[in-house]
Symmetry: D3
Subunit: 239 residues, 6 copies
């Protein structure tokens, strides 16, 4: 088996996380998984949605978008079509759940964090890149809130990162780019904490159904890849 990308099965693409990528947001990161490039910002606003009012807790919500020509063919702009598609809603719900798992909301105070992940260039794995990058922007945003005295403690429970794995020509591979993803039999997105637990596991058989042992092989590959991503996050945040 040879990957279209030429990478070894367990090899991540070159990953880059650039902090303070834009100026206005409390946290702002450009994350690159190879040719996949996503701007992740975290914006803090005082106040919480109605269903949380008066409970002394905070909230985090996420939105996801792609520039129309982030992809090989131009896709219609969702703002001009007048609605977000099912894929967009599915992804932004995943990002929101994943990052909420990183936080202790009772220490966030009555603040809302808006995570915006906007894909500038897509080459597979945009949702997992978004989670991994937004996690860094989230840490930066919490530091800003702390300086403002807006927190009731340290809301950061754990780090979160994500990667995709798949079965390609019968073998598990890590961090699929678009050509690999298009041909893979199975596609699995995995979100983990730095303590080694799973937050989300979403696997889909595109062609043939997958077997328990294939699932386990993919999860092992994902676990290893995410461990590398945690190191990278730590290194970037240490700068």
């Amino acid at each position: 088996m040879k990957r279209p990308s030429g990478r070894a099965p367990h090899q991540l693409r070159p990953i880059r996380i650039t902090r303070n990528y834009t100026r206005h947001a409390e946290g702002s990161v450009l994350v690159e998984f190879g040719d996949t490039r996503v701007i992740c910002t975290v914006s803090a606003e005082a106040g919480v949605p109605r269903f949380l009012k008066g409970q002394g807790k905070g909230w985090l919500t996420a939105e996801y978008g792609m520039l129309p020509r982030a992809t090989g063919e131009r896709m219609a702009r969702e703002a001009s079509r007048g609605r977000q598609g099912g894929r967009t809603l599915e992804i932004q719900r995943l990002i929101g759940r994943s990052l909420r798992a990183a936080l202790d909301m009772s220490k966030l105070g009555e603040n809302t964090l808006y995570v915006d992940c906007d894909v500038i260039q897509a080459d597979g794995g945009t949702r997992t890149a978004s989670i991994t990058g937004a996690m860094v922007a989230l840490v930066d945003a919490l530091a800003v809130l702390k300086k403002r005295g807006a927190l009731k403690g340290d809301p950061l429970k754990q780090m979160v990162a994500a990667v995709s794995v798949g079965i390609y020509q019968g073998e598990p591979i890590l961090d699929l780019d678009y050509p690999e993803d298009s041909d893979a039999e199975t596609d699995l997105n995995v979100v983990m904490t730095d303590a080694g637990g799973f937050i989300e596991v979403q696997g889909t058989a595109e062609g043939e159904p997958f077997q328990p042992e294939e699932l386990n092989a993919m999860l092992a590959l994902a676990t290893q890849g995410i461990r590398e991503l945690f190191e990278l996050q730590r290194a970037v945040l240490a700068d």
Copy 2:
């Protein structure tokens, strides 16, 4: 550990599938997983969406809805709010992918199958009940199409069924009802083929992250539960 429902950890709720539930659709089923009740219809129309035209293949697409008072609190009607929510879109995409896995589209001819799953009463597990019930309606619809001479062979590759599993007070349990689902630490939806492969595996940690061995225990439970569902589908279709 005692389940709120009083069931044993590996015990399904009483499942009932009533065929020919309504009169107009090519396939029409009422599926009940305990108090969860869903009407599943399959409607066949000649022709395919534009992206498939001229390829001699068919298509299947799914939509999902809940009656406003299917739930404990009345929810705003999506038709009057003017858009389907993210949860709805996510579920109907899952149903569509799952049922497409049952079919060989090249034998369906240029026909489109519309699967509609409408929840009359919700008590947890509506998406997995929808898939399991709609599979039966799909078989009935194919029989109607066959009689009409609209098929190019037998499009049915395999049966598909689905169930939810979770971790409740540290233990894996099968087929969660709403009170169990609300308190579970982890929620996992599993879609399988009758040959024993996975079509979809979607797990979410609601509270604590889950570990690989917990995932495997849940998958084993799901595999056993789905086996029972396949027997039930077969028995119902044999009538």
Copy 3:
């Protein structure tokens, strides 16, 4: 003249009203006029719309929908089209006005009743079946509110029921099913109180205009039919 249904001109279809059809709503009924089947729920919520705030009065509002394949041909789901059609809005306005006529709002307290009529299977007369069935669900819902101590007296002023009549091949007939309705020259929907007054009279000439004497003959037929419906409502509520 022979009706397609084989019924006598003044003969209703078999009518069935099943109370407590679903579990969550304050009132919940399945109403069947022959093959027309509608789920009617009444949901009570504390509070009133803004235009009524502070007046000590309650409110009732209605919504109507059809499952996509309730009809012979599948109709696009209004939730996914992003708007309710004119027919839907017209019918739900009619249901709301009709049921409000049954109530003394000043005794309802500051509560809002949401009536949802969802057609599972359509065979003509869905709006009149909805009104007749929802009236029973409304009585049940009021009993629940009374037990909760949420009322300021008995808001039930009078019972309301509805039926369709028409001119078919020159003769007035009662309670048209779909094939009769499609061929009728005139279609008239009548809503009455159990004291014998009219709440709504909506007649439309589909083909030839109708004459005053035809209108009176249809109204007489409707009056008789609705009297039977009131007996049926009473019998069902007495159980």
Copy 4:
């Protein structure tokens, strides 16, 4: 009983119909029922909606709107709210059905007539004024189409006109203005042909239910009023 308007019970408001009110439309009329003023245009376009293609028949469809400050309180503009309300849709469906009753579609050729009724100033009875005025614009539009050689005969089967009647302080009155309408117990809109048949009868009890004899008294009053409207239409068209 004294009407707020000071009119006798059977007395219409001053009615004026101004033809060729605007320049572009095939038919264009300003209709005034007292202070109610509506611009009615009829626009002809070659072609028919998809469901009629290839049948050699024409079609007529109607739309209705109010300028935001046509009423005592400004109402939000439907174009900026992003949807037409239920009342609007109900009225434009009524106008469309009423005017289609005037035409033999098989003689219209494959043309579509768009009737637009836009209320400039509202003082009760806008829907019946719209129908009565649009009928005149329709005759003018047919004359234009005839000159263009676009017709397959004379599509005009009969004239149509409409008026509202009601029960006010226990007595039937004709052609209610807004203050009368607000206080009436019953409101009845009647559409008739010049041959004396009913096209639409839509009665609603706003307060007390109405009795058959009240309905008949109202219909008699409407019949007389509409007869006057037909004379007026004829006089205006003769100019």
Copy 5:
């Protein structure tokens, strides 16, 4: 050069402003620039939008619409299409900005003025006619508010009027009608105060780019034309 309209280059069309055109609005005007006819109403409501609350200042906002057959070809009704087009939004923003320039908001009190400009018949220059006519309706509305004691002084800082100019066959012309506008190389809309300053200058090269000296010639023509419009406004308001 001969204008299609036969007018001299610096000649306005016949302008008419009819006050109190409809009955309900605080200010209501029919403005006619030749065959262009627009109803302008100004509606006053107590209260201001949220972003202004508690500042003791008022607000003015504008909306613009066209009747579907105001134009040579019928245009789809924006209310039924479900959104206002870009041209509509652009024009109503221009009208709002222009009329706000006439007012000292701090003297308006916490009132909101809604300006509605609805084009009954279009023949070029609808936006500039709207501004010029709405200005008169605004003065009338302020007089009503003054009588009600709702003002904190005289909010009227200055009068505002607008006209279009263009380059037609190489020469600047004033107040273009539709045929002239369609053929003009450049189209320039100018809004001025009666003290002679510019509020808005919006020029677009439809064909060839325009030169500074052409711009200045057009501005001179506009200045002269707007001076005539101010005289006309004054005369109308003096009646």
Copy 6:
């Protein structure tokens, strides 16, 4: 007078145009006017909109968007609000008109060019930066189309660039950043061709009206600034 930015009145911000910024689009540029950063892509698709079919001509259309946190305060995402705002539509119409002025559509062949300008970071002047940057992406896209043999000649008639000017504390200044723009009395956007003609001139008095001589001073400043921008475009394209 001292500009908040410290720049001389006639001084542009540092301008940077980075070609080939993303990989998929036929033309793709990152344009920076100081802290204002916009991604401009040009996508080519075969075919034209319906109103142009069969004329052998091409078309260019533009869309504009801002990332939610491109600004100081996070703005709601237009895709999730379900409609583009008036400002967005106004700007994208301006961009489209400006770039169409650069092209001879008859030489473009039946191709449509989609220009997408997405603001990553806003600091004033986003619309003029968009036009200036998209012009470069357009040239690159035309080169790609030429290589593909999709053109019928060279469609590039002239270069186009744009800048904003304003009156700040009584003096004309060039290329306003956000703090300058917020305080300026007048804001003028100017689009020119490299032959020195005006394509668009859009001036708005935010505070005091502006005088003809102020307008001329601003235009002179804009002309000089745009000349620098043309040099910059040329230099960038020469690389």
